[in-house]
Subunit: 246 residues, 2 copies
DNA sequence: GGCCTGCATTGATCTGGATCAAGTTGCAGG
DNA sequence: CCTGCAACTTGATCCAGATCAATGCAGGCC
């Protein structure tokens, strides 16, 4: 899936100062001395695509940050109905300080590399490190905003709007990573399978597939491959998403 | 709606030490000296049912805690579609430190009394008061859990399950307030209108009403008045909610 | 008491998305 | 190159919940 030569870097797990997500992760507001402590505590670990990182209800031994790849938070009902309740990208934090367990599975969508800390040690550090705690609060508030935005999508948007909204988010995210605004003729990987997408949007695979086809036929998107989306006109897509004029 | 004689207490806004939600709000982990500062800073304010406390997008001048009543967080689309994204009860916190605006309206569902702080002062205090920050992080994590639970409801549950889930939550909450377990033959007020309920559950008023009637006809609930629910068998309701055997 | 006015219920009909059921496509492994 | 499987697409049908349209019903007010 991803470039094999990068894999070997995981084991090495360079100094925190060189970390690509240094300026966005929980540790982004740490001073040099605090960072040195984290540097000592951290372990890198890679999970293969599809692997479950944390099982719902199991005791959580390690917290950490996504360094590479994409992880999903998945809530499952007894009868098998599933709803994705979060999508984590590099710099996002996994695990909730102060809680023994998680109410949802954390699953690697692609191959995922985590920068992990032993839970107890991290919580101890957190209690004495305001810069960490402050950043974690901000990140949690961001996640809460995202979750609430998603509630609107799940409760009130049509299938077509749901797909368009998801693609809009991916396009924005991709543009940010490339340090550009989302413009015309951009293209990006949509990362997750149709099944995962359906789980995220509260739809079935079939409806998901049909709506993607419909958006393609209407010229809103093009499919370079089944996973790579080309976007002739970002604004058109954003309009399809039923967004407030932002 | 609520007992008029209590109203006059709002103006008085007793000492923090006497506060009924002292042990659950943001300030619950504060020491006496920290509490004394908050005591100085706080203002009580009452909003009538239906009144908007904060408008989406407007600059937020004050943060605070719900002392009495029930407030809703409401996201509205351009074309008028609405989704409630949060329901706040006494001890819940309103406002997000570090953010100028809120992406949703905060509306009083019943008459609401708030214990408010001027935003800038509160943020300054927060930066120097780990006990406040820690508690706020925990509360935010709780809200995030609740939001994710709601995502499952919105994305995957049937109308009947949605109603049953909501009533289950209310029943649990009510039992906690009475310091008892949710048992047989309890009864409680369902607080919000059919319209607000529909907005919360991602349904229409009509479907909401029909499903409540259906649950009544099936003997799962009884209606003392249109708003007061009697519950012959809590477990039966919980089963209808499609909950994991907890 | 009668009469608004705003909530809530109930009924008839319509429809978006689910469900059931085949096909495709595309890639890994022999 | 074939073969087998997993991911995806497409088609036909069904149904839960939306929509449109009355009708009930209780509290406030003249």
């Amino acid at each position: 899936m991803s470039i094999p030569s990068l894999l070997s870097q995981d084991a090495r797990a360079g100094r925190c100062g060189d970390c690509p997500i240094r300026h966005r992760a929980v540790c982004s507001q740490c001073e040099a001395d605090e960072l040195a402590i984290l540097d000592q505590m951290k372990t890198y670990r890679t999970f293969t695509a599809g692997e479950t990182i944390i099982w719902a209800g199991d005791p959580v031994a390690r917290l950490g940050t996504v360094v590479k790849g994409c992880a999903t938070l998945l809530r499952t009902m007894e009868d098998g109905r599933r709803q994705m309740v979060g999508l984590l990208f590099p710099s996002d934090f996994i695990g909730r300080p102060g809680r023994e367990t998680t109410p949802y599975d954390v699953v690697a969508a692609t191959e995922v590399t985590l920068c992990q800390f032993e839970r107890q040690s991290f919580e101890d550090l957190l209690a004495n490190t305001p810069s960490l705690e402050r950043r974690l609060l901000q990140m949690t508030l961001d996640e809460l905003d995202a979750a609430r935005e998603w509630m609107l999508l799940l409760g009130r948007k049509s299938a077509r709007e749901k797909i368009a909204s998801f693609l809009t988010i991916l396009a924005r995210r991709d543009a940010v990573l490339r340090k550009s605004a989302p413009g015309p003729d951009m293209s990006f990987d949509m990362i997750i399978s149709r099944e995962a997408l359906a789980d995220y949007l509260g739809l079935t695979i079939e409806t998901t597939s049909r709506q993607i086809t419909a958006l393609k036929n209407d010229g809103v998107i093009r499919l370079a491959t089944k996973r790579i989306i080309e976007l002739p006109d970002f604004e058109r897509l954003a309009a399809e998403a039923g967004e407030d004029a932002a």
